[in-house]
Symmetry: C2
């Protein structure tokens, strides 16, 4: 039989799988000789056994409890001098929805008197007892916590908690017991061992609590890990003003500034800090109140940081001047703090630069690149909602999609304010600088769609009363009318009245070429430099014009991975495209193509100039032709109502002819090239001529939407002939964006010199949903249900799309060992996806220019993480 | 060095890969002791070597030629008594576009005189010489054959070929030589060995002729097989009226009737039969002309059939009363002949019943199931076009899609007649019984779309002059006006005036339950009986109503593999569905669902009754909801022009809200079930209650469009609760129709008791094209270009879709060994696809009721073929 219970002296921090995070760190601190209250951990394995057959390892627990009693010289629930314990859950990953803690186990009508006598503090003893019943009732027996809160409020009748005396709490104990009897038709259990066992079972059971299950599904945490339980001897921060409890960080987790940082609350137990019943005091003030404990605490924190080699956060309690450590873990931090602390730790010799890079994520870097509101601006903070999509946006409040579109068309900046959004608001969301809603969470329509668009969004700002008809909202007495300017901070969720000045990110300015200045930018510089030195993946950018190409190059792009040519067919060239589509014979078609060719050539010349010496991958035209024509519904209505011209009628006929039920799955990409004679040839000739004239151009011609090698062969043969005629060399390759291309990559590689994974389309077709249509209609629901942890359009779906990519990489390279492999879908700039691209062995990732630094960092981290796991 | 040249005495029929079909069979006949002119075969391996380095195995050829000369006692091109040879290509597969044959090699200005002297027939000698120059000029030198034909016609000046004399042909030789000089700026080569080598090289080179390359691409024949070349001593059918040439079959390949069958042409060479310069006579008449040869021929044919154990076709020549066999192979035959002959051979003890089943294809059975026109009806045959899509259709000729729709709506049968069709004609094609066009081949829009629909089509009937405006067509002087009745035969390509009576297929009547009568039906019965005994795959049907279910059962279906529920939401229930979609709150939604539930229950009750004791797989609702609402364009126009009611305006809002750019990739299938509360629950409850009341019902509930196991889990949990409440057992499984489902089948099988491959959607998403949109717009072009050999919507694409299926089968079964696996896409009734389903280990295929017999046969053949290859 496995060992199901570990004393704190038996564990260590590497046993997180077995002991949970909390138990492993308590054991680690115990072994470091730090003042941790004695206790033991019941393992996750015991939990798994319990969940299978409802048994708990009662004997082992009894043995360890006996040892604990011996250590403490007290017996659990003893009537004279009771040992009290807390029962706390502690899984491998912290998980909302699971039972957290029951304190003061061991108290009953007898032992409360013993505690009063021993502590010499009757008020404390009865307060502890009512806390036990309250917590036990709520978390173990599942009684609505409001029942207890209401009873407490009634008793206080407006007094502060410190004003209550022992008699008050004794009365409250009776009321609480009565609540238990009413709600659960049973007595509160007076037997301390029964209390402990029920609490342990409750922790185990909470593994299957709906919120915990949902959270695991969303976070892809396996369902069969189980949670550990920690049973710890109680120490008391609420024994008087020489006692207290606090939380602390070894450095400032908000800014990354050196020096400890924390809060302390005198005469209180841990949950009081969280509940915010009184204001905490800064940790520094503890030096004045209890210099010995303060000094010891600083000492311990320095040791912990040295030991964990990272920012730690801790929970501690002082019981009558004696310091106890209740918890520690590596602390969460902001993006800026992450970079600063990582570099500080390098300078302090605690970690190497490799490790520092591994500790700064691309996600954090991206956060540092958003523009921010000036700190200390004098604007009124109207309210705070959920930070649904980061960024800073300023504009006039508008209350309908139509109005947003109308004002935006005039060049005005607007913020779309709605109770909640729905698919009808899509046009308005596109037109607005930012979106603000009063309802809905982070998976609401507004939040999902805004994140998809990269648009600033604050949602669920519940204090807002939105009056759509009256075109105004009211918040805490302030009325904001349509046209009034507001500012929303999608990173913090803050909503301000008036225009808050926006400052560009200093990190972006650094990427744009400014010298590194300030500790943060200097830290970013060092991290980026080492990431670049370490990475194996090249980073390219997706850019369709010389300006974007030049910016991408400044941001560190090593080429263009995707230059789309369809955008070049819009604007004043739309007329030529219409001519091409309306052509009634080969002559008319050719003359439209001839007119387009010099324009295309000029497009490419500009990009080649911006990227001299670097590879530029140009994708031949991809979307269905009708995207260049007017909308079918609009045109039908125009013609039907007699408002159309003769040309409109001809256009309508063409639009109808080209109309497709599912244009995403229609005549586009290579299919267009094969069906419309001369179209691809025109583009290839324009590329070839521009490349020849540019001198150091490195053109790569990319064929979209190939599903069978025969398609590619046809186009390649034609393209090679043209390149040969012009006398220019260029690589010819293909997108891998329909599942069949990945599944037959071994064949396709016979005709392709490179593959570029078009993961937007590949995701659409692998899952069978189109981004435009479904993000709005059901992604929110899917995120809520935990079907996705994250939208597969944001982060590559490893099991589906990722698997196709692996197949294509392996089989493509088997056919052609020097096959060049890249990705040009939007995933190319997503941190998790960059890691996957490194793992599966791509040569480069390509992403929007702004995302290039994120990709560089993540590529470096992926290489370093890989190197780390290689040497293990 | 490999052996590159084989004498006919050295080969045999199993060496087809090396010697080609023709060479292998010539060797086989030689070894049987049949009178084959001596000769040798240059191997396909020699061809591959030649294509790599342009060398021919000259020495080996010379050795074999010397041996041939010794055997014949003549020398090639000898001036006194020349040996002449033919050079004929012969690949593993016969292939249009490749060089076929050059006869009479060895003739020049000297040897022609020797031939004349030896044969005593000057006319014959000069005719042979001019034939050599003509064939050599055309096929070896690539000169347009018209040049020679014109010269011949000019010389004939209206006379028959038998009227020409030696002087005429001698003059023609001069003219032909002059043509060669003009066209190729070289003399016709007089050296016999040069003639032979050039001819051999030309055969090898023709492997890369564009038509041959295209054909191989279309037929998926590997490009690197190469062709063999046969060099054969010439024998002459044109030495006088005691000579001749013919083709024959050992049984009637058209009907399968016992007894030989063939054509004979006196005083002619083989190519004259093909060119049809004179009428052939039936083989029987040879008995009168040359009873010895006739008797010997019948004898040989009997031996060949016994040896090949199948219908053989042969080419033969009689030279002055001496019979020579020039070729034999297993002969092609019609569908009816295939069944009859297979069973005859069983009865004759030549083959076993397993072999007989393997020789009758599902494709042939399907042909036998089409209705046919009564034979011998007195209708005028107007013309014959291409047999683009089989069947027999009768109806009024109409000349526009609109008119077709209009008349069909009134219940009239129409045939849509167009010059060619385009996507605008789609509605008309759906409305019509058949389609007739005057232009375009078998890959034209009309042909591709009609085959996709299973609609009768004759295309490219070039004699038709279609006058769309005048609503009439003219053919050979007959004018057919709109409304006149015509009949088209998609199996033969014939077009008749008036109504030809259609007779149902006797094979269908047999499947419907009639006793087998007649040799054909008896043969079908025996083949089907043994196929059923042999197959491992079960066959189910796709049926949505009790009538189809009952018919499917009569046709041998062992259950329903797909019962679609969305069709049940149309008709007079559309109103309820509109209520469901327009519901503004949960109460309204629930009341629409409550109204639908008893109707659904009745639907299922009927199907369960028809299929008592057999499994019925019911798919929960799949298509996007807006399919149940009016068309967006129509409704927009109606409202914009003021013709809409208040309800139309509400409807328009709903249609706009539900509008999707790509509905195929939108809110449908399981997504609908998860987003609309109560919809799936209503359906499951209706199924459960109908099943409980039906008694012996075996319901299987199928969830469409699952891409992730989490989706299925959610729906399954809800369904299991309802089944439990109703107290009914049913399997719960899923379609595998998005690529991700196949790629994560190992996970999905955790929640699924069965998989059914929805290969229509799976094909769409794997290739990234939607059937509705692309068949019309580019499939014809793709077939022409050889990108497909056959539409992937007709026959499963092995490399793409098939690979996903293999993955899903292997990984699904690894998770759940008793996972039930089937297919319910339209491929379930396609012969090649059934074979693939057998190979990858499915448990059943499901197809339309009419296709059930085809699937049964192919399942049997697949099992027998598998068994055969297992014992090899």
């Amino acid at each position: 039989m496995p060992k199901f219970v570990y004393d704190f002296t038996e564990g260590n921090k590497d046993l997180r799988d077995l002991l949970g995070g909390k138990g492993a760190n308590l054991a680690e601190m115990t072994n470091l000789g730090l003042p941790v209250p004695p206790g033991f951990t019941i393992t996750t394995e015991a939990c798994r056994t319990y969940l299978a057959d409802r048994t708990v390892p009662a004997e082992e627990i009894a043995t360890h409890l006996a040892k604990l009693e011996a250590t403490m010289g007290k017996r659990l629930g003893d009537a004279e001098d009771p040992l009290l314990v807390s029962v706390r859950s502690g899984a491998r990953f912290s998980m909302p929805g699971m039972m957290e803690t029951v304190l003061n186990i061991g108290l009953n009508d007898d032992s409360v008197l013993g505690l009063a006598a021993q502590s010499g503090n009757e008020r404390f003893a009865w307060d502890s007892y009512r806390r036990l019943i309250q917590m036990f009732g709520k978390t173990v027996l599942g009684i609505d916590g409001e029942r207890f809160e209401e009873a407490l409020e009634e008793l206080k009748a407006g007094r502060q908690d410190l004003d209550l005396d022992a008699a008050d709490f004794r009365r409250l104990v009776d009321v609480y017991k009565e609540i238990v009897k009413q709600e659960r038709d049973r007595e509160f259990p007076g037997d301390p061992r029964e209390q402990m066992e029920l609490a342990i079972r409750a922790v185990f059971d909470s593994w299957h609590a709906p919120r915990a299950v949902l959270y695991r599904r969303q976070e892809r945490i396996p369902d069969d890990l189980g949670t550990a339980v920690n049973v710890v001897a109680m120490v008391f921060g609420n024994l008087g003003m020489d006692s207290g409890t606090g939380v602390a960080f070894t450095r400032d987790p908000a800014t990354g500034q050196r020096g400890v940082y924390g809060d302390y609350l005198q005469n209180a137990q841990g949950e009081d800090v969280v509940a915010g019943i009184r204001n905490t005091i800064p940790l520094q003030e503890l030096e004045r109140i209890d210099p010995t404990s303060h000094h010891e605490l600083l000492d311990i924190m320095a040791r912990l940081e040295g030991h964990y080699r990272d920012l730690c956060d801790i929970e501690f309690t002082i019981e009558r001047g004696k310091l106890w450590m209740l918890q520690t873990r590596v602390g969460k931090r902001t993006a800026a703090a992450a970079f600063r602390i990582a570099v500080q730790l390098v300078d302090e010799g605690l970690i190497g630069i490799d490790e520092a890079v591994l500790r700064c994520t691309g996600q954090q870097l991206a956060q540092l690149m958003f523009p921010r509101f000036t700190e200390g601006a004098a604007n009124t903070l109207l309210t705070t909602g959920m930070n649904a999509s980061p960024g800073a946006a300023v504009g006039q409040a508008v209350f309908s999609s139509e109005r947003a579109v109308e004002l935006a068309a005039r060049g005005e900046a607007v913020i779309l304010v709605r109770r909640e959004t729905n698919p009808d608001d899509l046009a308005g969301m596109i037109a607005a600088r930012g979106v603000l809603t009063s309802r809905g969470g982070k998976t609401s329509h507004a939040a999902v769609v805004a994140r998809g668009m990269g648009k600033t969004c604050v949602c669920g700002a519940e204090e807002l009363e939105v009056d759509t008809k009256g075109r105004r909202f009211t918040v805490n007495g302030t009325v904001v009318e349509e046209g009034d300017v507001i500012s929303i901070d999608g990173t913090s969720g803050a909503v301000y009245l008036g225009e808050v000045p926006v400052v560009p990110s200093p990190v972006v300015e650094y990427f744009e070429g400014e010298e590194p200045a300030g500790e943060l930018v200097a830290a970013v510089h060092r991290i980026m430099t080492h990431a670049d030195e370490s990475r194996r993946l090249a980073v390219r950018a997706n850019a369709d014009n010389p300006e974007d190409a030049a910016r991408a190059r400044r941001f560190g792009a090593q080429g263009i991975g995707l230059c789309r040519t369809e955008h070049m067919f819009l604007g004043d060239r739309r007329q030529l495209v219409e001519d091409l589509i309306l052509a009634e014979n080969p002559r008319e078609r050719q003359s439209a193509l001839d007119a387009l060719e010099p324009l295309q050539k000029a497009d490419f010349a500009g990009i080649f100039a911006a990227m001299t010496g670097l590879p530029v991958t140009i994708r031949l035209i991809d979307p269905p032709l009708h995207e260049f024509l007017p909308d079918l519904v609009d045109l039908s209505v125009k013609v039907a109502t007699g408002a159309g011209t003769e040309k409109d009628e001809r256009l309508l006929a063409a639009v109808k002819r080209l109309h497709e039920q599912n244009p995403m799955l229609g005549l586009r990409g290579v299919r267009l090239g094969l069906v419309i004679p001369g179209l691809f040839a025109m583009q290839v000739r324009a590329i070839a001529q521009a490349a020849r004239e540019a001198g150091k151009a490195r053109a790569e011609i990319m064929i979209p939407l190939v599903g069978a090698v025969q398609e590619l062969e046809s186009v390649r043969d034609e393209a090679l002939k043209i390149l040969d005629e012009v006398g220019v060399h260029a690589l010819i390759g293909t997108m891998i964006e329909v599942p069949r291309a990945a599944l037959t990559a071994g064949q396709i590689a016979e005709a392709a010199q490179f593959f570029s994974f078009g993961t937007n389309d590949l995701t659409q077709m692998t899952w069978g949903f189109s981004r435009d249509d479904v993000e709005a209609s059901f992604f929110g629901k899917y995120l809520d249900l935990g079907i996705f942890g994250v939208s597969p359009f944001e982060t590559l779906d490893r099991d589906g799309v990722g698997r196709l990519m692996r197949i294509a990489v392996a089989e493509g390279r088997a056919t052609r060992p020097d096959l060049k492999l890249g990705i040009c879908g939007e995933h190319g700039g997503d941190p998790d996806s960059v890691r996957l691209c490194h793992e599966i062995g791509l040569d480069y990732v390509s992403c929007s220019p702004f995302r290039v630094p994120v990709a560089r960092l993540e590529a470096g981290r992926a290489a370093l993480a890989g190197a780390e796991s290689d040497t293990r």
